[in-house]
């Protein structure tokens, strides 16, 4: 493959690909952290409780 000028098509591909991947990743993490907070699964308090339980096992 010859190296050429970075074409308009190349710019579009890169922006679309980066944009969709970044958007999907950001959405997923945002939703995960939001759901975690609201369901109280994976919070520090829950981890501390599990640590406490395991101490006595």
């Amino acid at each position: 493959m010859e190296s050429t000028e970075f074409t308009g098509a190349g710019i579009v591909f890169m922006i679309l690909t980066w944009g969709s991947i970044l958007s999907l990743t950001a959405y997923c993490f945002y939703k995960t952290l939001w759901e975690d907070r609201s369901k109280i699964i994976g919070t520090l308090e829950v981890e501390a409780e599990i640590d406490e339980e395991e101490k006595y096992e």
């Binding site: 970075f6 098509a9 190349g10 591909f13 991947i21 990743t25 699964i41 994976g42 599990i50």
Partner: protein, 514 residues
């Protein structure tokens, strides 16, 4: 059966663990070459198509099967498939979910140890010195042929032992205190280091040449079936499905904890690292410093050559201090990717011993440690030939077969309706209904086609050793032996291990231990 199975402490923990399992050497050393070879930016069309039709749904399948099996206190392929399908043959099919990751680990831990060695050589400046002299190939050859030493013993062996201990130290502490704590530190670090390298690359002179090489689309390549095969196989291998690691990790998820969103998050993290980090930090510097033609040669010339020989020489072009930092960052990045993957592929074997044989972790780790140490040393002694065999049988064949087994069992034996309900138990998102059809028809068909294509495209020839002449020899422990005989010897050992796993399954399930 192990009644006191651990659970992940947090959703982020299991997501980072699965993402860590997926992110590995392939993200940085295989993906760039595939893009370059298959039409640049246009490759992203089949790649993203395959991600949507295979990567995402198959990950959902594996997470679902895993969590379901975990509810019945099973954490590896045999027990999980037995719990899900309930037919006598299921547990033996599941044995691939133990054998496959073991085969991969035997070779992967050794490759990972090379990276640790190169971290050391980066810190001491020895690698930079070799790069300045243009002798990185010789440097690499000295390392893997055991000529380079540390404290009087071959460096390759020295760093292998340390890497082996690191892996077992992590899994010794279990899912929460071991794996989860480790990935919660390492994965954010990997992402930060990766973004740092991306920013550095994006500030290089002549950046547009590198971006053009990577992203300018060559649409004519899309008419080539090989491009679609390469994209599908890259997505399949990058998402870590078919190994059994996700199956095992998901078995430690609480029964009503979301897996739909978790799976998607882990998948998207992996793709982010592959496309944005992997797709930037290798090809662009290669084009800028070597030119387009040579960049194409090196990115497609093999992962060892690219990672250990070419990249150090590229870094030197950035100036002495920058090269030192970038080179060290590169190898730390690779090592983190390697460790988070290797601990995930150890876990199915450990879970199998703990859950199906009802063994305490200490004893289970001793057995697993002994088996993996012996076979890893055999791989080391066998050199490239042994590495190739573990790669073909573990990384390629076993993955494809087990991936196909999972997809077919989920879609056509268990049934998508049942699986769909299980997937949505506790789900934080609603999976689009169209995925019912995709999981039923498209995903299993694609994977079966991938398996057939792999066999047709050279896989069968490799399995039957058709390209190895009877007069060809390899060096093993300083002696020349017939290559075919050595491979058959290796395969006999692997088959013996596979048989032992299946005999163990038979005894465990018939004695009611499982």
């Amino acid at each position: 059966m192990n009644q006191n199975r651990e659970k992940w402490g947090s959703k982020i923990g299991v997501i980072l663990a699965v993402a860590g399992s997926a992110v590995g050497l392939g993200n940085f050393l295989v993906f760039p070459g595939r893009v370059v070879d298959n039409g640049g930016g246009a490759f992203m069309i089949p790649y993203l198509t395959a991600f949507i039709l295979i990567g995402i749904p198959l990950a959902w399948v594996e997470w679902t099967l895993g969590r379901y099996g975990g509810r019945q206190n099973h954490g590896s392929g045999p027990g999980i498939l037995h719990a899900v399908i309930g037919r006598p043959y299921a547990k033996y099919l599941g044995s691939l979910g133990v054998m496959g990751p073991l085969l991969i680990f035997f070779l992967y831990v050794y490759l990972e140890s090379w990276i640790l060695g190169y971290i050391w050589y980066s810190i001491t400046g020895m690698l930079s010195a070799a790069a300045r002299q243009g002798s990185t190939a010789e440097f690499f050859e000295n390392y893997i042929s055991m000529k380079a030493t540390v404290l009087g013993i071959p460096a390759a062996l020295f760093f292998f032992i340390i890497t082996f201990i690191i892996n077992f130290s992590v899994i010794y502490f279990g899912i929460r205190r071991g794996i989860e704590k480790t990935v919660k530190i390492l994965m954010p670090l990997l992402i930060i280091l990766g973004i740092g390298l991306v920013i550095k690359v994006l500030t290089l002179d002549n950046l547009s040449r590198g971006l053009a090489f990577m992203w300018n689309p060559n649409f004519s390549m899309l008419l080539n079936a090989n491009v679609w095969f390469d994209a599908t196989s890259q997505v399949f291998f990058t998402t870590s499905v078919g190994i059994g690691a996700i199956l095992t990790y998901a078995s430690y998820v609480k029964k009503d904890q979301d897996i739909a969103l978790s799976s998607l998050t882990a998948n998207s993290t992996n793709i982010f690292i592959e496309v944005i980090v992997g797709g930037t930090i290798v090809i662009i510097p290669a084009v800028i410093f070597l030119g387009a033609a040579q960049a194409q040669d090196v990115t497609t010339g093999g992962i060892f050559s690219l990672g250990f020989i070419t990249m150090p020489m590229l870094f030197i072009e950035m100036g002495e201090i920058t090269a030192y930092i970038v080179q060290l960052t590169w190898f730390i990045l690779l090592f983190i990717g390697g460790v988070t993957s290797s601990i995930s592929i150890l876990q199915p074997g450990l879970s199998f011993i703990e859950d199906e044989l009802n063994m305490k972790r200490k004893k289970a780790i001793s057995i697993l440690g002994a088996v993996t140490l012996v076979f890893s040393l055999i791989i080391i002694a066998g050199g490239t030939t042994a590495i190739d065999q573990a790669d073909i049988l573990g990384f390629q064949l076993s993955l494809l077969v087990f991936g196909a087994v999972e997809a077919v069992l989920f879609a056509w034996v268990l049934g998508v309706k049942k699986g769909w309900k299980e997937l949505h138990r506790g789900a934080d998102i609603t999976v689009p209904r169209i995925y019912q059809y995709i999981i039923t028809w498209i995903t299993p068909t694609f994977i079966l086609l991938l398996l057939v294509f792999w066999l047709y495209d050279g896989g069968l020839r490799q399995l039957l050793l058709l390209d190895i002449g009877s007069e060809q020899t390899v060096e093993v422990l300083g002696r020349q032996v017939g290559e075919k005989n050595f491979i058959l010897f290796l395969r006999t050992l692997f088959l013996g291990l596979f048989a032992a796993i299946n005999i163990t399954i038979y005894r465990a399930f018939n004695k009611g231990e499982a």
